[in-house]
């Protein structure tokens, strides 16, 4: 993946994710984690290479068909990416837009089923009472839960979580990742999650990919991380890295 200004963000990255897996992506800021996740649902167009989704090459799908692929892949963002001035319910409902006819948007209309589904999604993340609040009235952790509820509306087969807890404090981080874990185990949703902290990786991920300067420099199970030597660790995180919060 090369950006228009010539920055090479990813190079020779190749990996496979199994259905129902919880895959962690680690690496320094700027190592290409976000780019990698955004290439998967083609928010960024990869300059070369292929993306295979359920055995189908989606790298060059036209916009119309891409829509049907994207709606099966939920995404959770570091900055939550909620529409701050809209209500929580509207934000959650907007996760359903991939399934609704576009012209309904002009009338701002969702079906009754969709509305009930949105309430259920909010119940699942534990904030049904906030449905009619404005999104920016919620705390950071609550906003991220709305983000997860929005992804849930897509009935996703996979969730891409781009540093979902980097803007939250550690206690909330566990709560948010707990929800993702629950979706992973209960609904068998594949989760691809980029993370900063190793202890979070060890706690939640089944498998881990380490990126550095756009290249995969590490791949292994969470036991591998637990056993990882400091030198190996520095290879991923660079010279100044210090292990934090780990055992």
């Amino acid at each position: 993946m090369v950006y228009p200004d010539g920055t090479v963000a990813l190079r020779d990255v190749s990996f496979e994710v199994k259905d129902g897996e919880f895959l962690g992506v680690i690496g320094l800021s700027g190592s290409g984690k976000s780019t990698l996740l955004r290439c998967i649902n083609r928010l960024l167009e990869p300059t070369s290479g292929r993306i295979i989704w359920n055995g189908k090459d989606i790298t060059h799908l036209p916009q119309g068909e891409l829509r049907t692929v994207r709606r099966e892949i939920g995404m959770v963002f570091q900055q939550f990416n909620l529409v701050k001035r809209s209500s929580v319910l509207t934000n959650v409902l907007s996760g359903r837009l991939g399934y609704t006819p576009p012209s309904w948007a002009l009338a701002n209309r969702f079906s009754r089923q969709d509305r009930q589904m949105a309430v259920r999604a909010l119940e699942r993340v534990g904030i049904p009472e906030k449905a009619h609040n404005r999104a920016d009235e919620l705390s950071g952790g609550q906003q991220q839960r709305v983000g997860i509820a929005r992804a849930l509306m897509q009935e996703p087969k996979m969730i891409l979580a781009d540093e979902p807890v980097a803007s939250l404090d550690p206690v909330l981080a566990h709560s948010i990742l707990g929800y993702l874990e629950k979706l992973n185990t209960e609904d068998n949703i594949t989760v691809l999650c980029s993370l900063h902290y190793l202890d979070l990786v060890q706690r939640y991920c089944e498998r881990v990919i380490g990126l550095r300067d756009g290249k995969v420099v590490f791949e292994g199970s969470k036991d591998d991380i637990a056993k990882m030597s400091d030198e190996r660790f520095r290879e991923i995180y660079g010279e100044d890295a210090v292990r934090m919060g780990g055992q």
């Binding site: 928010l43 891409l66 049907t68 939550f80 990416n81 909620l82 907007s94 609704t100």
Partner: protein, 727 residues
Amino acid sequence: MAETKNTQLTENPRGSLLHAVLSLIVPGLGQFVAGARSRGISLLLTVLTLFGLSMWTVAQRARFPEYAMATSVYFRIVLACAALLLFLLAIRHLLTRFVLKDPLAETFTMYGVVIVFFVLMVWVGDDILATVVSAEQLSQIHAGTALYSGGALAALWLWQVGDAARVGNTKQLPLNRDGSKRFPTMAGAIVIACLLVFALGYNLTGVDMPKAIREYQDVGILLPRILWPWRAAFAYDQEVFEVVQRIQAPCTDEAAAPPSNPVLDDDPWVSATPTCGELSSRPVTGGLILGTELTITGGNFVPGQEVLIRWANPIGNPFTPRGMGETTIIIDENGEFETKLNIPDAVISPETATGAQVHSLIIRQESVQVFGGRLSNEMQLALIGLLETIMIGLMATFFGIVAAFPLSFLAAKNLMAPIMSAPERIVGNVLGLLAGGWAGLQVTDFVSDRLGGLDQAPVQIFLVGMIAVLGLGYLGLQLGGRLSEALLSRLGKDGGYWAAAGLLAALAGFPGYQMGLGFSRGVRAIVLGAEVAAINEEFYGWIGAVLAAAITLLYLYRKRSTRRVPIGLMLYAVIRTILNVVRSVEALIYAIIAAIWVGLGPFAGTLALTLHTIASLAKLYSEAIESIDPGPLEALDAVGANRLQSIVYAVVPQILPPVISFTVYRWDINVRMSTLLGFVGGGGIGFILLQWIRLYQYEAVGIAVWLIAITVALLDYVSSEIRERFV
């Protein structure tokens, strides 16, 4: 490193003589040679421009027959100023060298030189001029402009000479971080240039403070009427009472004197005693012999207001008593009055003035009904005009929103930039849009015939036309794109691309042909004359067509690797350019055109203001769109929402507050603008305001100005209140 060099510079500010001399001869040359290219060029251009500008100003004001003569005169003035300045600088140099050795003195003595130079210009400027310019020439030029602009020009010239010396000595220049030389600041030159422009502006705008003070009286008379015009805002019903007492002159025995009028209970009355007597007379010897004194009493008049006492002669013509004038009396609080009056000398021809004559003593009261006032005509006109004005602003804003809101999405870079399209698709889009638009027009025509023409059902036909053209155009755009993509894909990947490129080039030929014709008619016709240019204008049309096609092909050739054209950015650029051009022309100018188009009146104003409003609101809205948080947009893309859904759910909620704020602000501006639109025939209060100004009806003018001011202030307050709620 840089630090040490910096100190060296201040300790040893020795410059390069060579570069200084070069710049003395040609401004900026020294800097240019020393490697500061752009500095040298901009200095040269600045000096030349300012010299030309000041010279032209001086010559214009002087009405010189020849500019060459003006140049030489002006050049001499600049030289004289430069000499004076050099003299002062020399004194400063000696002063700082031998007397004031403090480094601070460097700066302060420079201020001193500037102040002394300016003072000398003001006090002995004329003498300086007289030494270099002959008295005759001096009488022909504007001494002030010449002197002050010349002084500034001399200063600028000398400044850049000194600058060349500093810049030329490249070894002493401090270095930037990247190793390039850091040139000294140009603040001095900029300040001098600003002063020069100020001096020119002062004279060109004819600033004349003494005149403003001296002739204040002229405006002093009418100002109160404009500032407090409310007397003219109301009209009062008047009640007129006229009662008559007959007076006979002279008293005779044959005819009985008329009776004194009785005292009435309810109606106004007047009675005089006696009711006969001698007229006043003017003997040939001069003077005036007063006639009989009458005691006049009256009652039941309106208290506190005046009555007029007049006379009428025996045949009923009222007259004003000579030497006495009309008498007015203020009625007391009981509605009564009592006064004494001599019978005046009646102007009656001696033949008829025989025997006893019966004159009439008339008491007239024109009472004003203070509490029965109503709005005067002027006030009513002003109010109607004001209402019209507000409505013009409102309608223009309304139409503006309707047109600008959709446009603004096309003019927002962040939304348009990601839109890439394949040429295979664009061909179909263009053809489909044209076909759809044409079909829409046919539908409109058909409907128009059915409804009996535009005059019969204008609103219906307009609506049908809008919907048909826009709807079918959009349908054509979509269907055409899909159709052409499907068809061209049969030619294989490369074949389809190049076939599309060929078709697009052919399409570009049409506007190219028109532009070629336009060039022939617009540019060649000026040089060759319209008849000659018309002979082979088709040839130029074809050149234009071929050029446009070639450019299109070349562009698509360069895009062959990605097979995608940034059509969104192109549309964005076109729409932004159009909006900027439309916005840069004032609504007043549009109103002049609209007044010719649809006639004088509020519709012309609305039309003009709408055009301007669309352009500026679309710009403001699109800037609001460009500054949204891209996060939600990205999230909705990830969800699988299409463009329309993203706009409704991610863009619109974010831009709503600024859009409301901008719209209210624009409405505020529009009402303010529409007060002036009437000046050029756009209707509203301005229309009558201009008439009143031309008729010198300053009280009416004052009413209009007050109403405008009140409305604008209120609107300003309301609009800022509304905007505060939404930000």
